[in-house]
């Protein structure tokens, strides 16, 4: 068994920070002690916050029941927006020098408007009004101007410095290092989930949006280096487990992923806001078009057009070229990404973890499920909300889904187990015997 102590220590630090951002921010030994600015939505460019000398902290839900936000938000608002607002109202807002919201959906806009009126005096507030349509003729120009406005407004944060081109370039290198470390871990998760389970990967990703980014990059790279060496020098400890891709939003809790793992499957890929969609952000530090992108690529998916010289234009290009959130349009690049990822990671099935009341995800789900079914990959949909799952039912659904995947593979002749025994009949209710046999059915 390889020695994973160093990797566990690094991942443990990330897990702790992601589980309780307030405690992390209050630490006297927090590196840099730079003013912390919270943000909601992965379309808020961390690069600009870092270039302003600030410490970006991604806001999400915390475990436990929702408190003060319940009296402020409408009942149809999703529990993610409710929990983000609740965290701010319950004390985290006081640990932050300010909060940046982005236009994602109406629920988060409502949470932003409420926070705007209830934030502590002097707390920085910015609403980043981003386009919903990403491929319009003016989308990139509009996004770049919104980014410039954010950079300008951040000058009012106590302790911030002006955002310069050199600052943005350094920030881009740092965020690329964080995402690069996570991308390496994502590879380990896919190749060797026995060494890095999907739940541990997501905990690391969550922590990476909270910790000081230099500290985070160092921990991610250290963990990836140890795990890659361990993977190269050992054989998988588990075999025969089904491979699952999870799709959804921020996923404020790892509980569903733990349940999938307990049910006998591995989460080896994702289509999550906190995971692969965020990691798909092209590297703006590279300075030019990526070598693996074909010449003349129109700028879709992970292949941006040759990068603009202006750093804000370049940043806008990158954010429009990443795998889009379901709240953005058009959805095609995301569908293509999920299909490709499922194929590349040899995924057996997909679990959709839909935030209750999240219309954008719900609208995309039927088409995405049909697309996966067409390629022979069954899917399961589960609604999740802050406050946890109904354990018994969630466990039954996930276990039944994994059993179905096992039986499917068995029936297709690629495994062993049910479906190969001899005839079974003759109970006292009178059925007659039937021939045994394998049959490749499925969707």
């Amino acid at each position: 068994m390889p020695d994973l102590t160093a990797a566990r220590a690094a991942l443990g630090r990330l897990l702790a920070a992601g589980s309780d951002p307030g405690a992390y921010l209050s630490r006297a030994d927090r590196p840099g002690r730079r003013p912390a600015v919270g943000y909601v939505c992965s379309y808020v460019p961390e690069e600009i916050l870092l270039a302003a000398g600030l410490h970006p902290v991604r806001l999400g839900a915390r475990p436990g029941p929702v408190g003060p936000a319940d009296s402020s938000l409408q009942s149809f608002a999703c529990s993610f927006s409710r929990a983000c607002l609740d965290g701010l109202l319950s004390g985290l807002g006081g640990d932050l020098a300010g909060v940046v919201f982005a236009y994602t959906c109406d629920s988060l806009r409502a949470a932003a408007e409420i926070w705007k009126t209830r934030r502590p005096a002097g707390s920085f507030y910015h609403f980043l009004n981003l386009p919903a349509r990403l491929d319009g003729p003016g989308s990139a120009r509009y996004t770049a101007s919104a980014f410039r406005r954010l950079a300008g407004d951040l000058a009012s944060v106590d302790g911030a410095r002006p955002v310069s081109a050199a600052g943005l370039a350094a920030a881009a290198r740092l965020t690329a290092a964080v995402r690069g470390g996570l991308a390496r871990l994502a590879e380990v998760r896919s190749a060797r989930p026995d060494l890095l389970p999907g739940s541990a990967f997501l905990a690391a990703a969550r922590g990476a949006t909270v910790v000081d980014r230099e500290e985070g990059a160092a921990d991610l790279i250290a963990a990836a280096t140890v795990l890659e060496a361990a993977a190269a020098g050992s054989e998988p400890a588990r075999t025969g487990r089904r491979r699952i891709l999870v799709s959804g939003g921020f996923l404020e809790t790892d509980e569903p992923v733990h349940l999938i793992e307990e049910a006998g499957a591995d989460v080896v890929a994702d289509d999550l806001c906190l995971g692969a969609r965020w990691l798909s952000l092209p590297d703006t530090a590279a300075g030019d078009a990526r070598e693996d992108c074909p010449a003349g690529d129109p700028g879709s998916g992970p292949c941006p057009s040759p990068l603009a010289a202006d750093p804000f234009d370049r940043l806008a290009q990158a954010y429009l070229a990443r795998v889009p959130c379901p709240a953005k349009h058009p959805p095609g690049p995301r569908f293509d990404f999920v299909r490709r990822e499922a194929e590349a990671r040899s995924v057996d099935g997909v679990v959709f973890l839909l935030q209750k009341f999240c219309d954008p995800h719900a609208f995309d789900y039927p088409d995405l499920a049909a697309l996966l079914a067409a390629s022979g990959r069954p899917s399961l949909v589960m609604e999740i909300e802050q406050g946890g799952l109904t354990h018994g039912q969630a466990r039954t659904r996930l276990e039944a889904f994994v059993e179905r995947l096992r039986a499917g593979r068995s029936a297709a002749g690629t495994g062993c187990g049910a479906g190969t025994a001899g005839t079974a009949a003759g109970t006292r209710t009178g059925p007659t015997g039937r021939g045994a046999g394998k049959g490749a059915e499925g969707r």
Binding site: A400, A418, R428, G437, G439
Partner: protein, 261 residues
């Protein structure tokens, strides 16, 4: 003798089935037992397994393998635990060999399952966090009406018309039943209305899978003839209710104990 057992620890009732595999490779049921689950899932599992073995005239040592299923499947240490979805599918396909799909209405949840060959699960849906469309819904209504649950089915068939129960939420529906009672609607009509409301919920869920005939209804609620007819009306198709509908999950577990060995 080759003996296997399945134990289905449901939220309301726990069932056990003991089967013997005959030399020609067929399964024969040797013993059945059913008991209320109560608070202690493990104790309930032990009780029904002992009961089914006693009815079969067998000692526990005769068992080659046992599989548990149902809501409390992890409470009883056996050879393995399999979900009630897989077990009901396998059991229903055994009881009705041509079965194309299963509607299982249990104490705390309901499911619809599309079947492949030998009861393999092709697809399934399950009710969400809500109690509507489950046995618990009927239990709450029985208490509100002061009618034993066993009489619900026959009573509802004597109603001239069904009272309108518009709510599918158990809590609100109970209030509605109390209002109907205050308006002096007969118990028969109210029960028929309850069945119709529940059937709409079940049918709405079941239509989300490829519900191929023959459709088998399993689970304890399948004993309620009034509800079965109401679901048939909503779906526009006949349901097959095997004599051992309530034991389908335990039977499936016993068969899987044999086949997966």
């Amino acid at each position: 003798m080759t003996i296997f057992a399945g134990v289905d620890i449901g939220s309301a009732a726990t069932k056990a089935v003991v089967i013997e595999i005959l030399p020609e490779g067929r399964a024969r049921i040797r013993g059945l037992h059913l008991a209320p689950t109560g608070y202690d899932n493990e104790a309930a599992g032990r009780t029904v397994l002992s009961g089914a073995l006693a009815r079969a005239g067998l000692e526990p040592g005769a068992l080659v393998r046992t599989v548990t299923t149902g809501y409390g499947r992890h409470a009883l240490a056996t050879d393995s635990a399999v979900t009630e979805i897989t077990c009901h599918a396998r059991g229903a396909a055994e009881l009705v060999p041509a079965a194309g799909s299963v509607i299982d209405v249990g104490g705390q949840d309901s499911k619809a399952i599309a079947l492949g060959e030998r009861g393999r699960v092709l697809d399934f849906v399950m009710n969400d966090k809500c109690a509507a469309g489950t046995g618990r819904f009927l239990e709450v209504m029985a208490r509100a009406l002061e009618v034993p649950l066993d009489e619900f089915g026959p009573l509802s068939l004597t109603a001239r018309e069904a009272a309108e129960i518009s709510n599918t939420c158990t809590v609100f529906a109970e209030s509605e039943v109390i209002s109907q009672r205050a308006a002096r609607r007969s118990k028969e009509e109210i029960i028929a209305g309850i069945h119709r409301a529940m059937a709409r919920r079940i049918a709405g869920m079941a239509r989300r899978v490829d519900l191929r005939a023959p459709v088998v209804m399993s689970g304890g609620v399948a004993r309620n003839v009034g509800l079965v007819q109401a679901v048939e009306r909503e779906l526009g198709q006949t349901l097959v209710v095997p004599e051992l509908a309530q034991f389908a999950g335990a039977l499936g577990a016993a068969l899987l104990a044999w086949e997966k060995g």
